[in-house]
């Protein structure tokens, strides 16, 4: 077993390449608000939820109501509540380490961890490093984007790296578990929700998928 921090660095590097410019874009867009630029990295430090932050920028810029903001954030953020379900056993233990892991449970952390076997004694250190690297990347990107402002327009298209990474991890997951049913249900639900509920696609898809999977398992148990 290699050292945990190095292993975590190796696994996060591709996500760092994708996350950093995204942070820059966020910091850059923050300038449309009449606010001190330093609040942008502060927001990335405390809120640490990419899609919620981008949504909030839009609502703040258009002077939307606080109620709309909270409700939308709750909808977008609630997908993370599902992530914990797969990590209940892995994120055990006590103290600040566990709570930092839970706070920092963003998409790339989840995607990496479900594809990575438990590392035994080194596992908590591995998870902590992984979480901290991504958090730091997000803050640093935002800081640079916000500080450099208009002098440094971000490069478009780098978000595709995220798509490619999620696709790779999905392939890995399928090679391991061959879970075609949840895959098909999720894909079908995503397509339906895209038509029915634009804006609430993610949480809609997630709820529908979980419901269908639960009903199927429940029938299996009672049959």
């Amino acid at each position: 077993m290699k050292r945990a921090w190095l292993e975590a660095l190796k696994d996060t590097l591709p996500f760092v390449v994708a996350y950093f410019p995204l942070g820059i874009v966020f910091g850059y867009l923050f300038h449309q608000l009449e606010a001190p630029w330093i609040l942008a990295p502060v927001m990335s430090l405390c809120v640490y939820a990419g899609s919620v932050q981008f949504m909030a920028l839009g609502l703040l810029a258009s002077h939307g109501s606080l109620f709309t903001l909270v409700l939308t954030a709750l909808f977008i953020g609630s997908r993370n509540a599902f992530y914990g379900l797969s990590l209940l056993d892995r994120y055990q233990g006590k103290g600040w380490r566990k709570w930092y892991l839970i706070f920092g449970l963003v998409d790339p952390v989840y995607a990496t961890l479900v594809s990575k076997p438990h590392l035994g004694d080194a596992d908590q250190k591995y998870c902590l490093c992984l979480t901290a690297y991504l958090h730091a990347t997000w803050i640093a990107g935002t800081f640079i984007g916000a500080a450099a402002g208009a002098h440094f327009p971000p490069l478009p298209g780098l978000e595709f790296i995220l798509t490619a990474l999620f696709a790779i991890l999905l392939v890995e997951q399928l090679c391991k578990h061959r879970a075609w049913f949840p895959l098909c249900v999720a894909a079908g639900a995503a397509l339906v929700m895209h038509q029915l509920a634009p804006g609430f696609e993610i949480i809609g898809t997630l709820l529908a998928t979980t419901l269908i999977l639960t009903l199927r398992e429940w029938r299996g148990l009672t049959a």
């Binding site: 914990g84 209940l88 999720a186």
Partner: protein, 108 residues
Amino acid sequence: MNPIVVTIGLLTGLTILTRAFPFLFAEKLRRNHLLQKVAQQLPTAILMILVFHSLQGTTWSSFPFGMPEVLGIATTVGVHLWRRHMILSLISGTSIYFLLAFFTGGTG
């Protein structure tokens, strides 16, 4: 107080609330067999959803009809099934995406 500071405070609370939610009921959830079975299948479903979600900015209804994205993903997946080498799959898929996006005027 600055409305942006208020917003940051509120959203921080929401982040903690949504992420900590399942852990607050960890003991109960762990004992539920039905839920455990569903939770085992969730990673595949969620990764699928993340792929879809990350394609939100794609133009499907007009030229280039999401072609750079679709072919970029196809290349990534194809190369990955062939070699199972993450960095190689990532670089080849992303290169195809950038080339197509550049020549169809999507990017750059």
